[in-house]
């Protein structure tokens, strides 16, 4: 079965990828780490930041071991710089 994921990009990733939102269909089950590997292979910017990207699933931080579910919203969070 397939799982559809909404991937959100911000800041330098949004700028370098050229999109703020990607919709992906991947074979289930898929972990957060597998999703990052998939994106890193397709987008050099994601690859460049791979080590410092953290995931948020449905607006909460989650480890790369998280198992994603159809319809999840996954944000790629590079080190934040608010304040």
């Amino acid at each position: 079965t397939m799982c559809t994921l909404d991937v959100l990009l911000f800041s330098v990733l949004r700028q370098r990828v050229g999109e703020g939102r990607l919709t992906l269909r991947l074979d289930a089950p898929v972990t957060g780490g597998a999703l990052l590997d998939h994106l890193a292979a397709r987008y050099p910017a994601v690859g460049a930041y791979r080590a410092v990207i953290r995931l948020a699933v449905n607006e909460e931080y989650a480890p790369e071991s998280v198992v994603l579910t159809d319809g999840d919203e996954v944000a790629l969070i590079t080190p934040v710089s608010g304040g």
């Binding site: 480890p63 080190p79 934040v80 608010g82 304040g83």
Partner: protein, 153 residues
């Protein structure tokens, strides 16, 4: 924290520090600590003309609520303010206001410092420097946000 005791917001408008102080005033407080981050013109030799803030709004809002709750668990917080301006913030204007009211001053200082440090590490907001020479640069924080284990693992 109860709604009436906290004011947490992301906004595109200028921040009003006087209004934040007024919200923090309460007969239960003896000390109110405020921190305001402002756009600095010079970083080493480089001149900034403005900052631009990007944000994952619904999540940032939740994280700010969570941090205010954590502060209230750790210190006797009577009132708390956590505001962040988004979009363009010109030089000398405020991008963030953190305010805490507690019965005694040491707690106000500690909780306020905790909140700004945690906000700068955890809340999904990013700034871009726009320099006088026209170049721009997204600022990357010193360390990735801390990720807690969740029951989805």
């Amino acid at each position: 924290m109860k709604k009436k005791e906290s004011q947490i917001a992301l906004t595109d408008e200028p921040l009003d520090v006087g209004a934040s102080f007024a919200f923090l005033q309460t007969p239960a407080a003896g000390g109110i600590a405020l921190f305001v981050g402002t756009t600095r013109r010079w970083t080493k030799e480089r001149e900034t003309v403005r900052l631009e803030y990007d944000c994952y709004r619904p999540m940032a809002r939740k994280e700010m609520e969570r941090l205010a709750g954590e502060a209230a668990d750790r210190w006797p917080v009577e009132r708390v303010v956590l505001l962040h301006r988004l979009g363009v913030v010109p030089v000398a204007e405020a991008s963030v206001v953190v305010g805490v009211a507690t019965p005694h001053r040491a707690d106000a200082f500690e909780a306020c410092r905790f909140l700004i440090d945690a906000l700068k590490r955890q809340v999904p907001i990013w700034k871009r420097e726009v320099y006088a020479d026209g170049q721009t640069e997204w600022v990357e924080g010193d360390a990735p946000p801390a990720v807690r284990e969740t029951d989805r693992v």
